[in-house]
């Protein structure tokens, strides 16, 4: 598993979102189903009750006789008679005629019947009902305008409107039970949906996790990383594409590496093959030099030229070999603890740079683990380069600098010349191989690899090298090497 940082459950991670989506879909479908069922059932329950009530009320009224005008006396008896035949639940019957108000109950006028129902019944001689909730109790109120026959084919509104008011308590109980059933059905549905939701999220997330691990593995250089392709869904396609891409990437990288390796080996082989004939040639240059004096002028010049160029060729081949070793990562650091000031002084002394062309500021007592031979190459190359391309005096300055807390102390060696300095265009390429700062200069005494080898040697020490210009003029090269002072270093 990955680190704690990553394995922490993310609040809005893919898993959460997938779960959320599953739950949402489940909630919507379960809720919709439950709600629709509930609605249908409720409508059915209410419709049955209403239709039964309206129909039976009409039938009862039609079986009753009234005189016109309706008389107040005896009307309540008729209404009570109607109320006794109530169906499906007991109802109270109210009558309104002109200014007459009567009922089968205690109050002649109902408080439940709404003005809307009244006006509907008055405006249109047709039966109507209205559900009213009063004080939490649902009522069904039915308005039944009455007509009478003036002929076998014709009726006339009588002006008498009968109302029935029926409590719907039973229906309410039934409907509440329905609601409970709907809720009890939907909630476990949601809970059950959570399980496939989790499973699906897992099945989606596992390939994603594998993909992430594979991508990270690729990033760390293991190009042979592949993912096991499972199934045939989009994630499997993704995995397959990933595998194909990594395959191509691996091939390309391998080809590149092989090409690079071939080029490197070629350079190494060429310089290697050059060494053996050079060894023979170099061994006899002395003979040529010594005997040249006895030859005629032209032959002597030719012989000396061959001798001198053989020497340069030997240096060039030597530098090429060195670079090849760096490229092949065959260069080893043979570190030893040395007195840095002494090492630099030795370098200058061996190159006979002891006159006032080279000034030094070398504090004593700085000891560092360095490869003496490589450090010698670094200093010699930098000073030689400064003397060759800049102007004397060349200053070699040594100091140490404490870096940020936790990072090692830096050993800083600066080599500054008094020449015109480096062109800004030159700076980015100054450490390139065979880079000639001055295009007009066809060939220098050096191999053209000196600064490149210097850079590689510094890097081998884990250090850095910078080239720049001093504010007061002249180029400066600064080598920074982390100072490893070991208590018991070997």
């Amino acid at each position: 598993m990955s680190g704690g940082e990553r394995s922490r459950v993310r609040v809005f991670g893919l898993r959460t979102r997938l779960l959320f989506a599953f739950l949402l879909v489940a909630a919507v479908s379960a809720g919709t189903t439950a709600a629709l069922t509930y609605r249908e059932a409720r409508t059915a329950v209410l419709k049955t009750a209403q239709d039964t009530a309206v129909t039976s009320f009409r039938e009862q009224v039609q079986l009753t006789g009234f005189s016109l005008p309706v008389r107040g006396e005896g009307l309540e008896d008729v209404l009570r008679d109607l109320a006794r035949k109530s169906k499906p639940h007991p109802w109270v019957v109210f009558a309104e005629y002109g200014s007459l108000r009567a009922s089968s109950g205690e109050n002649p006028v109902s408080t439940v019947i709404t003005p809307e129902l009244r006006s509907a019944a008055r405006a249109n001689p047709r039966g109507a009902f209205e559900r009213v909730v009063k004080d939490g109790v649902p009522y069904l109120t039915i308005a039944m305008p009455t007509v009478f026959k003036t002929s076998p084919d014709s009726v006339l509104p009588s002006g008498l409107v009968l109302y029935a008011v029926m409590r719907m308590t039973d229906e309410q109980i039934t409907i509440d039970a329905l609601l409970m059933a709907a809720r009890d059905g939907a909630l476990p549905g949601l809970a059950v949906a959570l399980i496939p939701g989790l499973l699906a999220a897992r099945s989606v997330l596992r390939p994603v996790r594998e993909l992430r691990q594979a991508a990270r593995s690729m990033g760390s250089g293991r190009l042979d990383t592949r993912i096991v392709v499972r199934g045939s869904d989009e994630l499997a396609d993704l995995a397959r594409t990933f595998n194909e891409s990594t395959g191509q990437l691996e091939r390309s990288v391998r080809e590149l590496r092989e090409a690079e390796e071939r080029a490197r080996r070629f350079a190494s082989d060429v310089s290697h093959e050059l060494r053996t004939p050079l060894a023979g040639m170099l061994a006899v240059t002395e003979v040529l030099d010594e005997d040249a004096d006895g030859l005629d002028a032209d032959t002597a010049r030719a012989v000396r030229l061959v001798s001198a160029e053989t020497g340069k060729l030997a240096v060039l081949v030597e530098d090429l070999m060195e670079i090849s070793r760096f490229d092949a990562r065959a260069a080893e650091l043979n570190a030893d603890e040395v007195d840095v000031a002494e090492a630099i002084r030795n370098t200058l002394q061996n190159r006979h740079w002891t006159d006032d062309r080279v000034r030094t500021e070398l504090p004593d007592g700085i000891r560092a683990r360095l490869d003496p031979r490589r450090f010698d190459v670094v200093i010699a190359n930098l000073v030689g380069n400064a003397l060759k391309h800049g102007d004397a005096p060349v200053t070699v300055r040594l100091r140490t600098e404490a870096g940020a807390p936790g990072s090692p102390v830096l050993l800083i060696t600066e080599v500054a010349d008094s020449g015109p300095g480096l062109q800004p265009a030159v700076l980015p390429h100054i450490f390139d191989r065979f880079y000639k700062a001055d295009a007009a200069r066809t060939r220098s005494a050096g191999s053209g690899l000196g600064l490149a080898i210097t850079l590689e040697n510094v890097k081998l020490h884990g250090g850095t090298i910078h080239a720049g210009n001093r504010p007061e003029g002249g180029a400066v090269f600064a080598v920074e090497i982390p100072l490893h002072v070991e208590g018991a270093g070997g």
Partner: protein
């Protein structure tokens, strides 16, 4: 002038080096293979062996071991590859110094002279024979015995021991030893010192793992004693 036996398979190198050294007054015998070189040794009786490491048939390291079996002849390896591995193997096999090809004759000659040079002890005013524990060092006769038994030390080993024991308990850095014993520059290969110390310890110490005579001071170098 020293007599030099050169074992080198490449004709141009062989001829060039032979020519260069002979011009400088050396008596040179050149052989193309290790077998031929070993065969010439008894008859030519060289003062020094210049040995190429890469040889057809018997290679340079094998030749080196075989010479060391019965002789303390100074041996300088010629190596065409700067390959560190070869150098280490050659030094472990008993070579006293090495030269990377291509090299100018003056470089080769300087190295030859350095290996052959005897340590000049005349000014030290020391007694000729000193005893350190079981070791007896004869600075004049240039012999070392341990518990009465004479030790066969290669020239570089002997010079290293003489140098270290000349100033007991003084610490010499590897750079200093390279300069004084091998007459190399300050920045030469410190592994020369390490390989030579390892060979020397194998001959004089009772336990190579915990040396008495040639002790290591980590980070600084080597010293002789204290016993």
């Amino acid at each position: 002038m020293p007599r030099v036996l050169l074992i080198e398979d490449d004709p141009s190198v062989r001829e060039g080096v032979e020519l260069g050294l002979r011009r400088r007054g050396h008596e040179v015998r050149a052989a193309a293979t290790g077998e031929a070189g070993l065969a010439a040794m008894a008859e030519f009786r060289p003062d020094l062996l210049l040995l190429d490491l890469m040889l057809p048939g018997m290679n340079g390291v094998q030749v080196c071991r075989q010479v060391r079996d019965h002789s303390q002849l100074p041996i300088i390896m010629l190596t065409a590859r700067g390959d560190d591995f070869d150098v280490v193997i050659g030094l472990e096999a008993g070579a006293d110094d090495y030269i990377v090809k291509p090299a100018r004759p003056e470089v080769i000659e300087a190295r030859i002279r350095a290996v052959l040079r005897r340590i000049d002890d005349s000014g030290s005013g020391r007694p000729a024979i000193e005893v350190y524990g079981e070791l007896t060092v004869d600075r004049v006769g240039l012999t070392v015995t341990k518990a009465g038994r004479r030790l066969a030390l290669a020239p570089s080993e002997l010079k290293l021991l003489l140098h270290l024991s000349g100033a007991p308990e003084q610490v010499f850095s590897r750079q200093q030893l390279l300069e004084h014993v091998w007459e190399h520059t300050f920045h030469a290969d410190a592994r020369l010192v390490d390989a030579c110390v390892a060979r020397l310890r194998g001959k004089i110490e009772d336990e190579v793992g915990s040396p008495r005579y040639v002790q290591t001071l980590r980070g600084f170098g080597y010293r002789f004693g204290p016993l």
